[in-house]
């Protein structure tokens, strides 16, 4: 069980179950989100958004406890929301307002005095790249601009933690890169802790140091991305020269030795060699089968590999 007094963890969940009617969206989830940027990864329907909504108090868990910044979500929801910024996944705005009024209004709702809220609204809108469009009605904004203004309203009251739910949804490549730069800048240079929920692995890999992988309402893997990418064994790209029948026999031999082979889009295969033997084991097996190795290069595992392994994909 995670310790709520643990000051290094920004968010903690202890055996949390959330049900929508008969459907369990979160199943006995125990997780800990450290400070800095943490990615919340998972396919659609994995329970990422539900977890964020539960942390904000929008949905009440059927069991379990949650803590944000050391505060219990069940007993101190307002204190938590005063220190949290939330960027929802869906298009959201207050109707009938221009951008600066909207963001200033959100600042006031979060407890900032009116003058300060307006001043911060201008600053934050410049920061997210909407400075020139800040007097336009939000309803006339493009999808990318709407994403930016959602980030602005989440930032205006200077939160300690940001919950970003699919922040790059619907953005063009340039806008997406700029959004990721902002997210990265916030966590690396501005000292804002953030949880970035996404199903896009490159987004998480670029902006986050840690990751929590979810699948079907459960935690599939969690930890620093760098350590999760460390394989217990090594992965190689391998190309051999042999006939088809000999190749089958060679692959059989590799599998029998506990190696995992995977075809790729190119003319090489990826081979996972468990243990410490590495390339030496691979060469020995090739020599035993009298197969000529034409190409052998260590392959760096990606977050995609971690994700695929965690959710049980091939």
């Amino acid at each position: 069980m995670p310790d709520p007094a643990n000051t290094t963890a920004v968010v903690m969940l202890d055996a949390v179950t959330v049900a929508y009617g008969r459907n369990l969206a979160l199943r006995d989830v125990t997780a800990s989100f450290a400070g800095g940027a943490v990615g919340l990864l998972g396919p659609n329907g994995a329970g990422k958004s539900t977890m964020i909504k539960a942390l904000l108090g929008f949905v009440v868990p059927t069991r379990g406890r949650m803590h944000v910044l050391g505060l219990d979500v069940a007993t101190s929801p307002l204190e938590i929301r005063a220190r949290v910024g939330y960027m929802p996944e869906s298009d959201s705005h207050i109707p009938g307002m221009n951008a600066v009024t909207f963001v200033g209004y959100c600042g006031e709702l979060a407890g900032l005095p009116r003058v300060d809220a307006m001043q911060r609204a201008h600053e934050v809108l410049f920061y997210v790249g909407l400075g020139e469009a800040r007097y336009r009605n939000v309803e006339t904004y493009s999808t990318g601009m709407k994403q930016r203004i959602k980030l602005a309203q989440a930032l205006v009251h200077d939160p300690d933690v940001l919950f970003l739910d699919e922040p790059t949804n619907g953005m063009d490549p340039k806008g997406r890169d700029e959004m990721l730069e902002l997210v990265r800048d916030l966590s690396r240079n501005k000292g804002v802790n953030l949880i970035l929920s996404s199903h896009l692995l490159p987004d998480v890999e670029y902006t986050c140091d840690q990751v929590v992988v979810m699948d079907k309402g459960r935690i599939a893997a969690q930890g620093p991305i760098a350590s999760l990418k460390q394989p217990r064994g090594r992965v190689y790209e391998l190309r051999v020269k042999t006939t088809v029948s000999e190749l089958e026999s060679f692959l059989e031999r590799l599998r029998a030795a506990g190696l995992t082979c995977q075809a790729t889009d190119e003319d090489v295969m990826r081979v996972f060699v468990p243990g410490e033997g590495g390339a030496r084991d691979l060469f020995a097996l090739a020599a035993a089968e009298r197969v000529q190795v034409r190409h052998l290069r260590p392959s760096v595992p990606t977050l995609e590999d971690v994700f695929a392994t965690a959710v049980g994909e091939e």
Binding site: V59, S92, G96, Y105, A110, D158, G191
Partner: protein, 289 residues
């Protein structure tokens, strides 16, 4: 090389105490409507009966010939509030229909409720917007009319003889504003379209009144009067219930055939049902199980 970095800065200023977010919501709503010319026009027109009554008060106070015909009585204030019902209706539809429906359409509820404010604060802030405008066309002109009467008469005789008038105007106006605002907010929370909500409110008012008429006809109660010993069915109509309660507050004979307690009960029921609807509909996330 930028001259000035428009970067993100941490905030080191003060924060307002919690529990005041409803004031922010109410102020923003009031500002939004007061910036609309069409709405200002509506407000101006809604004060037309006040000016007519003001002339009546002036004439009754200054021209003995007119005193017989235009005499100011406690009923005058009740009649004035009755006349304002049409403006109460228009302002309720204009202001109230979109108060929550527009937020639902723009997915704004999750933004509001991700800030440090409760659902009750959100609803109260919205209710204050509508109730303020309703009081602006009922309570404010009625009280100003009372003050004008004192000024034009040059004495406190009428006021002293009818001391109950000030609390009566206040109580009735607030009961009306609360009931109408709560009902409209509940309807507004049921849809994402303010137009649909407006139609729904109009239908509710006209349908209940029509149903009352049909039932009264079918049961042979259409000419029943209060105290006739035959309880009527006017309690079906919220407008009739408010009129009944208003008459009681102004110490006037009840105009409809339903018992006062039943009208009062229906008003309380309407407010309670509205509260239940709002409790279920105003949420950060809509769960379709």
């Amino acid at each position: 090389m930028p001259i000035h970095d428009q970067g993100y800065r941490r905030y080191g200023g003060t924060r307002t105490p919690r529990g005041q977010a409803w004031i922010v919501i109410a102020k923003a709503g009031l500002r939004t409507f007061l910036s609309k010319k069409a709405f200002l026009g509506l407000l101006l027109i809604s004060w037309f009966p006040f000016f007519v009554r003001a002339v009546q008060v002036y004439a009754a106070a200054n021209f003995p010939q007119a005193r017989q015909l235009l005499a100011i009585k406690p009923e005058t204030f009740r009649q004035f509030l009755d006349q304002q019902n049409i403006w109460v209706f228009f302002i309720t539809v204009y202001v109230g229909a979109g108060l929550i429906a527009n937020d639902r359409r723009a997915n704004a509820l999750q933004l509001y409720l991700s800030k440090p404010l409760t659902r009750a604060e959100y609803v109260f802030g919205k209710l204050v917007i509508l109730a303020t405008f309703l009081l602006l066309v009922t309570w404010v002109p009625a009280i100003v009319l009372l003050i004008l009467q004192i000024m034009f008469a040059g004495n406190l005789t009428f006021f002293k003889e009818n001391l109950f008038l000030f609390p009566a105007i206040t109580l009735f106006s607030f009961v009306q504003a609360l009931t109408v605002s709560a009902a409209m907010l509940a309807l507004s929370s049921l849809s994402n379209s303010s137009r649909y909500v407006g139609i729904l409110y109009t239908a509710l008012i006209f349908f209940t009144t029509a149903l009352w008429g049909v039932l009264a006809f079918a049961l042979g109660l259409q000419h029943a009067e209060a105290g006739a010993g035959r309880p009527g069915v006017s309690w079906i109509s919220p407008s009739a219930d408010l009129a009944q309660v208003g008459d009681a507050i102004f110490r006037l004979p009840l105009r409809h055939d339903s018992p006062l307690f039943l009208s009062l009960f229906m008003i309380v029921l309407l407010v309670v049902v509205s509260g239940v609807v709002l409790e279920r509909r105003v949420r950060g996330v809509e769960i379709v199980a």
